[in-house]
Symmetry: C2
């Protein structure tokens, strides 16, 4: 059962907005807090007093926690999904036929899977199973820092309707949390997953004490591979998306802090002699690193298509994590600068 | 008198290349070392044994140091400039009429000035005074780390002739120093200067202990303002340049380490109560921070054109450095998200 929160509002015209947050964890709580405080302030939402269920963060007075998923979504026309990604397929299957046909969804879930036939986007899963439009919200947003009202940013990716994106922007934005819309669902969503592979590379550099120059170079090469990979997967993906919070800023945050970077640093300091599984168990109390599985999934896509040489960083990260290469291989790019002209129609990516 | 080094070579065809490095300091020494080792290896350059004058780094066997500037350049057809930027006008004036008419130049000098009428590019100064073409080389390259052969990257900006850019790339590239060409002299050169303003902003965030989320957001906003400012100054500037080493990577290095970030952190920790002049004198033994003067120069350009609201980060950094705003103002963007459509023809920058 996934905790949910319902936040009521009515518009100043005749459209009434009711928001339901399907989610849990720190980010779910922080999202409910942001939304709750905005629906109190914005004239298009009315307030309702009620606080229960979600632990920790103090939620808004008008946030109602509801343990019954189907009941929570039935009247909502704005659905916010913020669960671990592995739960989403099950949740969507339970919601088939239970949501309003005019509902709009947004996914805050980072970490969709990259399957052999291509990335399996969470936003597509929601759209396809529930028959509703789905935006995404990604960015450099560590829940605990936003909970403390420290300045940060996020990006809303939308497919077609700018006014829907603007409604999400208004629902999340505060003076300390700046949200910007871009018309590129896939680009925004892929950033949230692929950055974890680059964070492993950054962690190797830290573990080898290679200095800021090298770390910056590796992050830059990683950002380029994120961009080229995304554009090869979806021709609609835009370069500018990678300048947004979901792109360069989330990459920086993740490569400065973050658990992928941290465990990769430990892996390199141990010369690759202790496996990621072992280090994960020791350092993360049984949680798994998304970066390691994403690197494997991306590698499978690349090897199936013969693209390994075009993505030396992605390829090398995977080969380091499985012990085929030493951590120091992360900086051995000398002999294979990628030639993107090999990929049909990709000359413009360079 | 500026130390110079001459590096001889002849091509495998009938063109003979002779390189002269006009410069000094760590970066001058490291550049001479990179070039010296390449001219020994490449068939288009012959080697000559000689080492003297430049202290510290072990230079190549074929690097000749020559204290006579005019003598050093007279036979060279490849001129590398790597002096402090304030010396360049004087050096160029002494070289008028003394360089070969078929010489090609490259500037490694970061920190051109931004004058009221627009940026005063060092590459333009060289081209105009000496009547020769001038490329630039910029990037995340801390001389000491490159001297230790740690992996890093750089960007060559060129104006027209790709084959000239390729010749420079071959002259500098090694297995640990990867150089890529882009056709955008002004974009590459502006990155090297404007990043110092963003580094001050990053330093304020560090001094206020605001966390990685906030720092990443500020760096991203800074990169956006670098990009928009450069494009407004030179319509030829390309977005992709900011994805290169000279853009995002140099920005990351400078905002993680670097003296601008360091002194700005101290400024914020003191609540702005000790001036930059005082902190500079104490922390940098009398060296001046380029970021503070660049922020002032950029502010003058912005205020002359009424563009302050379009560049809240650049504007706020300057106002903090002169004591008109407290360091905490660096994150107070809530009420003035820039609207680039106000600037004629700039809708595409958004």
């Amino acid at each position: 059962m996934s905790p949910t929160t319902a936040i009521d509002g009515n518009s100043s015209t005749n459209k009434k907005f009711k928001v339901t947050v399907v989610g849990s964890g720190n980010w779910g709580s922080v999202a409910a807090k942001l939304i709750g405080s905005n629906t109190l302030k914005l004239s298009s939402f009315h307030d309702e007093e009620n606080v229960k269920y979600l632990p920790g963060i103090k939620l808004g007075r008008n946030v109602v926690a509801d343990p019954d998923l189907v009941n929570a979504v039935k009247d909502a026309n704005m659905l916010v999904f913020v669960t671990p990604h592995q739960f989403m397929e099950g949740i969507c299957r339970r919601l088939v036929g239970k949501v309003r046909s005019d509902a709009e969804a947004i996914s805050l879930i980072k970490g969709m899977e990259v399957k052999m036939e291509g990335p399996c986007m969470i936003s597509s899963l929601i759209s396809e199973l529930l028959g509703i439009n789905c935006c995404v919200l990604m960015g450099a947003n560590i829940a605990n820092e936003i909970a403390k009202e420290m300045f940060s940013e996020a990006t809303v990716g939308y497919r077609e309707h700018r006014e829907v994106a603007e409604r999400w922007v208004n629902l999340f934005s505060t003076t300390y949390f700046i949200v910007s819309p871009v018309q590129d669902v896939e680009g925004v969503e892929l950033c949230g997953t692929l950055k974890n592979v680059v964070a492993l590379a950054a962690g190797f550099v830290d573990g080898l004490d290679m200095g800021n120059n090298t770390k910056a170079a590796i992050m830059r090469i990683g950002l380029r591979e994120m961009r080229v990979f995304s554009k090869l997967m979806f021709s609609s993906v835009k370069d500018n998306t990678f300048f947004e919070s979901c792109g360069v800023a989330d990459l920086i945050t993740t490569c400065l802090g973050g658990r992928n970077r941290k465990v990769a640093e430990a892996f390199a300091r141990n010369g690759g002699k202790r496996s990621f599984d072992e280090l994960e168990a020791e350092m993360l109390q049984g949680q798994k690193l998304q970066g390691v599985s994403t690197a494997k999934e991306v590698y499978e896509v690349l090897s199936k298509r013969g693209w390994q040489e075009l993505f030396p960083l992605f390829t090398t990260v995977h080969e380091i994590t499985i012990g085929h290469l030493p951590p120091s291989a992360i900086v051995e790019y000398s002999e294979h600068t990628p030639n993107f002209s090999l990929v049909e129609g990709s000359a413009q990516y360079y």
